[in-house]
Symmetry: C2
Subunit: 363 residues, 2 copies
């Protein structure tokens, strides 16, 4: 039985139709000249959505979480001080991953729902090797100011999680001073989960770990796999590329760039505003700090006395509609509603508001 | 432009049609009860193709090479002696990956094209922590005797690469004493590349590294992600499962088990024999040692004076047909011809033989 769900949780979202069609198309061999061209095009389009000219921009062959691991495993030398801005689950995870790479982690804790306090993060250590932060916290629906971190980073590398921001809100890796970034395909890029769009600049690459503890995520080896930059010549076999997923990402990116990246951002902005206004009109209270709310992922407090899980179950059972529970200690007290990629549209907003109103009247 | 290729290289192969259709179907959220059930079913079917009852059998969310990394990163403690049977490229890679995990690697070198010399491997060290070998060497087309390694392993863990054997030839992990195994989806399982079917038994799990250097591949965390064994209760969020790829693997496995695993092995055996007989009738010489040839992946020597790459280019351009170059130092002197999954059929054998005959007459 095939379920036809509305995926309004924190990800995965429903893919763009072009991305779905590409997934079901005949596949190519991973060394086929036609595939190498498709990979080059994909990397070129990824540069556009990252806002970077980094030659080393590629889709890593695993999900976004492996992108996080690739970022740390290639840049953390044993004993390096890594300052991590922790304002949600993914900041916490960064601390775990960095520590496994031998970092001396300096976490800077924030209340969940708040953006990163840039001054406090920059003052946390006099000379960190790396400063790491999450641009759009999937656990709380909060946007942080990456440009301000970049402006104040000094000699440190700035390492940024853009999993929930890429393809949804403004992201300008080069202008903002991002040295290393990773993302996922299953949020605003509107592609199924399975790849981690990744970028690293020359400055960070020059400081990289020569032989990282991960062979699979070793950027020194992966450079040859994607031909480093388009047109730079020979490929070396590293691993078998997940060709169907890459073709699907290519189709999703083509769709986004055809529409225009700034138009896509505006569409997410409008949908998020419409949803957040609608929720407040229903008397619900938003969770994320005002002025720092993500349009693509809205967090809303579960009203007193309402069974959070029962509402989600009702929506799934009666309307084939998924919204997310809260993360961590907010599992039962917050809902997360995503409007990502093809779901950032006014009709989808009407639907989710109507369905939630229905559920609250019945559960 | 969509290319419609015959994928007769060393992998990926053309997927089973059921696997392709599942890739293009609507996706589910990774915590949707319907997806968790699909994941449980997938793990149960993976146990069948592995020939294991291991509770910890799951599709790792990356390609087969990440399966190799997961195997070593979870089992190698710093300074552990790891004996690696090296009879091709993937044995070499095991040495690199194990060394990055802190192993004292004892490689046992073989001529390429030869199977693993079990006695030499077992005698290489008096008390290794791990003995590692490749069941079906993708670089040479050779099958090795895993059961004999298992019978003689003593207290060591036996770690096996089954990337090119699973779903194509006899594989009985439990009967053969395999403690840790990893595979890929894009060979005889007939699914696009992107997942690494993985299995580990209780004995190996009890000796595992408590906090491996990889967070993404940490089996202690991944246990909760797949619910450890069907019906064991609660899931913990680890990473977003590549839901489309898992659905496709589910469809491929269903197809294989509907046909019957032994019937599928027999189909691969017959196709390989037909191909190898046909190549010899054409006057070509096979590369892999007689008596140890894989049916699903045939290696054949490029005739003297023939431009190996020109033949492959001709086949791709004129017949949309891919065969593989040789690996390593045999790149120009050997071809690799795969008949995997849906391509293990007599009509496909006729086609590849006819196309190769055509190419040899023209290039």
């Amino acid at each position: 039985m095939i379920h036809d769900r509305h995926l309004f949780g924190p990800g995965p979202t429903n893919p763009y139709p072009e991305a779905t069609l590409a997934l079901g198309a005949p596949i190519l061999g991973h060394l086929d000249p036609a595939f190498l061209e498709l990979m080059d095009d994909t990397c070129a389009m990824l540069r556009q959505v990252w806002g970077t000219s980094n030659a080393r921009t590629l889709p890593i062959s695993a999900t976004g979480s492996a992108g996080m691991e690739a970022a740390f495993v290639n840049t953390v030398h044993p004993g390096d001080v890594v300052v991590v801005a922790v304002n949600g689950l993914f900041g916490q995870r960064m601390c775990d991953v960095a520590a496994r790479c031998g970092a001396e982690v300096v976490p800077v804790e924030h209340d969940w729902g708040q953006p990163v306090d840039v001054e406090r993060v920059l003052a946390a250590h006099p000379a960190p090797a790396i400063i790491a932060a999450v641009h759009a916290e999937t656990s709380t629906g909060v946007r942080s100011d990456i440009a301000a971190l970049g402006a104040g980073k000094g000699d440190a590398l700035l390492l940024v999680d853009a999993v929930t921001s890429i393809g949804g809100i403004e992201l300008r890796a080069d202008d903002w001073g991002v040295d290393v970034g990773y993302a996922g395909t299953q949020k605003c890029l509107g592609v199924a989960p399975g790849l981690a769009p990744f970028t690293i600049n020359d400055r960070a690459f020059a400081r990289r770990v020569e032989r990282p503890q991960s062979w699979y995520l070793d950027l020194g080896l992966l450079g040859g796999y994607v031909g480093e930059a388009s047109g730079s010549g020979g490929r070396t076999y590293h691993h078998t590329a997940p060709v169907a997923m890459v073709a699907s990402l290519h189709a999703g990116l083509t769709r986004i760039l055809d529409e225009g990246l700034e138009a896509v951002w505006a569409r997410h902005e409008a949908a998020g505003r419409q949803l957040q206004d609608g929720l407040e009109e229903m008397g619900l209270e938003l969770f994320a700090a005002e002025g720092h709310r993500l349009p693509e992922l809205t967090t809303v407090k579960v009203p007193e006395g309402v069974d959070s899980a029962a509402v989600r179950r009702y929506l799934l059972t009666n309307h084939d509609l998924e919204i997310g529970a809260g993360a961590g200690s907010f599992a039962a007290s917050v809902w997360r509603i995503g409007l990502m990629g093809p779901n950032a549209r006014p009709d989808r907003v009407l639907l989710v508001l109507a369905a939630l109103r229905d559920a609250l009247g019945r559960v």
